[in-house]
């Protein structure tokens, strides 16, 4: 199925998504990778307010190339980064900030999958390296935070997006995880290949 979602995305719409569905998003998508996840969670723990609200919007694992043209930030290239690096705190992040969608590439593990199931979040895989396809869906750079401290790839960029996609749902709220399924098959094939290998 194809879905065109608008942020804020109500939880019941996310719960309708199934592994393999194609999704396009219109509304707000905020970039956050390793450092931004860490800082957001640290600030929350200290009881401080974040400059952005992740609730019901898309969190994009992305460190874009941005350029200031006539005083305005513009997107040059903005594809997904490897999501697996965020596996160490994504479940905590989902529980704390309740985003609708995690957008990235390469898939995520059991902890994220469990958090998605529990808190009504889904993972949309964007084709890795397809940074200009992604940039095409970004209509406006609304805000930027933590740029000075974290630098261009790691800071929070708040984008207005229109039909941003296609993303393939690889983690849904029903406990399915496409990347994990493929990984298990690959491991089984590896073991067979290794056993049959000749000198």
């Amino acid at each position: 199925m194809d879905y065109h979602l608008k942020t804020p995305v109500p939880e019941d719409e996310i719960r309708k998504l199934k592994m393999g569905d194609l999704v396009y998003v219109t509304g707000t998508v905020i970039t956050a990778r390793d450092e931004a996840h860490l800082k957001a969670l640290e600030l929350h723990e200290k009881g401080e307010k974040l400059p952005v609200d992740f609730k019901d919007v898309g969190v994009f694992h992305c460190g874009p190339i941005m350029k200031k043209v006539d005083g305005e930030w513009t997107v040059i290239a903005a594809g997904p980064t490897t999501s697996a690096r965020m596996e160490i705190f994504q479940d905590n992040f989902i529980e704390t900030f309740r985003p609708a969608l995690i957008i990235g590439k390469g898939g995520m593990g059991d902890r994220t999958s469990k958090a998605c199931q529990e808190y009504g979040c889904a993972y949309g895989a964007f084709t890795g390296g397809a940074a200009l396809l992604a940039a095409r869906g970004i209509k406006k750079v609304r805000e930027v935070h933590w740029l000075e401290e974290l630098g261009m790839p790691e800071c929070l960029w708040v984008y207005d997006v229109e039909d941003f996609g296609p993303m393939i749902i690889t983690i849904d709220t029903h406990g399915n995880n496409m990347t994990q399924d493929v990984k298990e098959q690959v491991t089984a094939r590896m073991e067979k290949i290794m056993a049959e290998m000749e000198g």
Partner: protein, 293 residues
Amino acid sequence: MTEISKIVEDTAVELLRIAVTELPTEYVKVLEEAMEETEGAVGKAQLTNILENVVIARENSKPMCQDTGIVAFMVKLGDGFPLRSEVREILIKATRRATEEVPLRPNAVDMFKGNTRDNVGLNGHVPIIYFDLVEGDDLELIALPKGGGSTNIAAHRMLKPGLGMKGVKQFVIEALSNAGSLGCPPYFVGVGIGGGEDLCMKLAKEALLKPFRVRSEYQKVAAIEAELLEKVNELGIGAMGLGEGPTALDLHVKMAARHPASLPVGVVISCWALRHARAVISSDGEVEIDKSV
């Protein structure tokens, strides 16, 4: 600045621009064939997106991927070329310029001070420059900016020599299986065997740039390359690790002699966007840019 320095600098900037904006046509052709042959809709869609993205990059001269990598240059400096040690400073300057002009993403991070913002830093190590002294009057430059995702899935192991070539092959399969979806497959794979703990990694990186789909001149090595490429594809990781389409587009092996007690193996992997460009600059400043693979 002498004229020849300016020529080298301009050429290096241009090579970085070509590398990040134009995927070699030979790779595009193979990706197109893979897209046609992939039956599953999920895998086909990934390859279609890659190809569409590659066209936008070329037409608009924009980086195909936002991760324009850590910048690396492979330099072959001919005995008769008028520049010597100053080539390093010229390439550093070119990296700063390309970061602004192409633009490239600032990817050099100082662990204590943060992003250096110009792709240059720390202690003269980045951009990475591999110098080789060669006969002749020319300077050969290869720009090889390589992304972090596929860099993170490199693998290295010091095997027990008793495990022999079978052990080496098993390690390569294990490395690719572990790489899985993480580094944007379909992959290009470079394998370095022997030399030492560091040289095997360098050989593996160089192996990525051996002529595309041309097997090693050494018959035994060629057979290993063919076998490994087939078996890596049997893993079925597929485009973007979603289980459909090719896992690897090519695989090369480079070998050196090893210590009797050591069997070092390095595996360096590139994402589908194996970005590189090469130029030869003659001693009188004539530049020939070579976009073939």
